[in-house]
Amino acid sequence: MPPVAFFILSCLLFSLGGLAFIIKRDLITQFMAIEIMLNAANLALIAAAKFSGTLDAQIIVFFVITVAAAEAAVGLAIILLIYRQKKNIRSEEVNLLKG
């Protein structure tokens, strides 16, 4: 399989994630969209590592996974608290910073 196929898949996944984040309105789905975008990036990095024969990119992947785990913990906690406050998780209702 040519390397470019991996990168195209990665791009597709990333775009889908971004699109989903912008279109969807509930926080859990948006959260999943972020996860998809992160893993799209991971895929591109793994592919780069494989084809370049070095380990540099793989190390970055570990970092990304770690960050994603932390982000999941904090993010879910925030969503939970928002739910407790508003009894729903619609992102457009979280607009306290509206100018």
Binding site: F21, I22, I23, R25, S91, N95, L96, L97, K98, G99
Partner: protein, 635 residues
């Protein structure tokens, strides 16, 4: 002790500090001790330095006691040090300031006893003494200016001492502002001296003038500028208007600051710079003319005033006019001599007037006095001695000093000024005895309630009166005129090292006698007229008023000068400021400031529309941004 002469100003200075910082915890008894004691210490040091003078005094300023405490201002080759010195002229001023000052401090203990700001009063009085001593002991013009401003500040604070009273607060403000006008000219004069002579120290200025390194025109300009400063501080035409109002302050303050010491600072300054003024004859003539005119002019106002302190205030203005007359014709020693005797008899008159007020529960209007002679057995004779002295009755100090000035005027050929001086003398004798007769003689015009409280002042107040009365009588004997024998004028010889020697003006003994007889005759005439008008036929003054209503109204309203100044200077300034405030400050300056604020507000509101609060919108913008940047990088 004289080696420590430079400590003289710092006793009252330290006392002020203590009173200001710890005053609220100090018992009244202690304050009453400390404040006069500090001035007394200064007096002792001044006296011992004075006694050591004859041995150290040579004819060069450098050899007098002099002490540089620290280098003050350095700018290139120009240098001003914080230097105090003690030459004969300073010696006289220090003794007057601390001596009379001490007596007035003691008097204040009784006079201010029931005031609730007792400590504040004494801290200010001490601060004044400190500033005045700096003024007279400074060896350069710049340090002198510090003292000059210091006494002005204390004057302001003490005139407005009872600041709850509207009139007092306004009087203080007036004194301060009028003095600023004079001081602006004074400081310009100092700048000109520094600019042209590159020094501010008195001996160096004198030396530079002796070497004629100043053009006569410039010297005249500088001397006139300095004299404008003197007219402000010493209440001469045209800046005298603040002094009568200054009587709103406590009476001992009027005695110390507005009669004996501060207001004579101008005379001291002119005498201190007598080399400069001698070098600028035109300026000297202006000084003499202003002095003589003020002497007569202020005297005529005093003729019709009914407020006992205001009569004395105009009398002070008039007497300082005599001092300037003496200085202006070149008789600096005579001017200083009058300053020195005046300090005693005028503070005596003020303190005695304070004692009268004290007895009459604060009454100032002479129309509500009369017949007080028998109620005030100590105040009356001391007041009478003061009046006799200022009127110029022979063998009292005022006679010798006034006569010295008039004789010198005549001897130097200024017959017109001499005549003005004589006219002033007759007016002086008249209004002083009008004051005496209205206050102490005739029928009793005070109310029953006042009579009930009528009492002679306590010894702490009458004591100083007696001491001052004693000095009013004897202080003249250090400067006897030449008719009593040669070289009896010790005062003039003492001042010789300070005053530029000039050609001697000798009159024949016969002329001298004639002049003396003339001034005695004038004094007695004045007293006789007062006696005739106010004791013999008390209806006459009213007839005179009815006969010359215009003149009377002019005098009672003080020639409308306050009104004229108000219309010519104060109102235009107020109106102009108001116009600028409403037409420039409010629309332009405030408009610009508020407008810039409003602009920011509006811009912020506009930009805040971008902040939708929707996290998805932000993400969209973010993604688009990344896409654009990526596009730019790749393509």
């Amino acid at each position: 002790m004289s080696a420590y002469f430079w400590l003289i100003p710092f006793f009252p200075g330290l006392s002020t500090l203590i009173l200001v910082i710890f005053g609220r915890w100090l018992p009244k008894k202690y304050v009453s001790f400390q404040a006069p004691f500090a001035v007394f210490l200064s007096f002792l040091f001044g006296l011992s330095s004075f006694l050591s003078l004859p041995s150290t005094a040579a004819h060069h300023g450098e050899e007098f006691l002099s002490k540089t405490l620290f280098a003050w201002i350095y700018a290139g080759s120009f240098q001003v040090d914080f230097t105090l010195w003690f030459d004969p002229l300073t010696a006289i001023m220090v003794l007057v300031v601390t001596g009379v000052g001490f007596i007035i401090h003691v008097y204040s203990i009784g006079y201010m006893a029931d005031d609730r700001s007792y400590t504040r009063y004494f801290s200010l009085l001490n601060l004044f003494t400190f500033a005045m001593l700096i003024l007279v002991m400074a060896k350069n013009l710049v340090l002198m200016f510090v003292g000059w401003e210091g006494v002005g500040l204390c004057s302001y604070l003490l005139i407005g001492f009872w600041f709850e009273k509207h009139a007092a607060a306004n009087a203080g403000k007036k004194a301060f502002i009028v003095n600023r006008i004079g001081d602006a000219a004074f400081i310009l004069g100092i700048f000109f001296i520094i600019l042209n002579l590159k020094t501010a120290s008195f001996p160096e200025i004198n030396q530079a003038i002796a070497e004629a390194s100043l053009s006569p025109g410039l010297a005249t300009l500088i001397a006139l500028l300095l004299f404008v400063g003197a007219t402000g501080k010493s209440a001469q035409i045209p800046l005298y208007v603040w002094l009568p109002d200054a009587m709103e302050g406590p009476t001992p303050v009027s005695a110390l600051i507005h009669a004996a010491t501060m207001v004579t600072a101008g005379v001291y300054m002119v005498t201190r710079l007598n080399h400069l003024f001698t070098f600028a004859p035109l300026a000297s003539e202006v000084v003499a003319l202003i002095g003589a005119l003020t002497a007569v002019y202020a005297g005529t106002i005093a003729l019709t005033q009914n407020d006992i302190k205001r009569v004395l205030a105009y009398s002070t203005i008039s007497q300082i006019g005599y001092m300037f007359l003496g200085c202006g014709v070149g008789a600096y020693a005579a001017g200083m001599f009058h300053l020195y005797t005046h300090a005693f008899f005028k503070s005596l008159l003020f303190l005695a007037a304070g004692s009268v007020m004290h007895a009459l529960s604060g009454e100032l209007d002479m129309r509500k006095m009369g017949g007080l002679k028998k109620y005030l057995p100590l105040t009356y004779p001391t007041f009478l001695i003061g009046a006799i002295t200022i009127a110029g009755v022979p063998f009292f100090s005022g006679f010798f000093s006034k006569d010295a000035i008039l004789t010198q005027c005549f001897a130097r050929g200024n017959y017109f000024l001499w005549a003005l001086g004589l006219l002033g003398a007759i007016i002086t004798a008249f209004y002083m005895f009008r004051l005496i007769f209205l206050t102490f003689h005739g029928e009793e015009r005070f109310s029953q309630e006042v009579r009930h409280h009528l009492h002679e002042s306590p010894p702490i107040m009458t004591g100083p009166l007696v001491v001052l009365a004693f000095f009013s009588v004897v202080s003249g004997y250090v400067g006897l005129p030449v008719v009593f024998g040669k070289n009896l004028n010790w005062f003039e010889r003492f001042l010789e090292p300070v005053i530029k020697s000039h050609e001697e003006h000798h009159l024949t003994l016969n002329t001298e006698w004639m002049l003396i007889v003339a001034s005695v005759a004038v004094a007695l005439t004045g007293i006789a007229i007062a006696y005739w008008l106010y004791l013999k036929s008390p209806a006459l003054p009213h007839q005179l008023v009815a006969r010359f209503p215009g003149v009377y109204r002019l005098l009672v309203n003080k020639y409308y000068v306050d009104e004229i100044y108000n219309a010519a200077f104060v109102q235009p300034l107020v109106k102009g400021s108001e116009a600028i405030y409403y037409n420039f400050d409010l629309p332009v300056i405030d408009g610009a400031v508020n407008g810039s604020g409003r602009l920011m507000n509006f811009g912020g509101k506009l930009l805040s529309l971008l902040q939708s609060g929707q996290v998805r919108d932000y993400a969209l913008v973010f993604l688009l941004g990344v896409a654009i940047i990526l596009g730019l990088v790749v393509f």
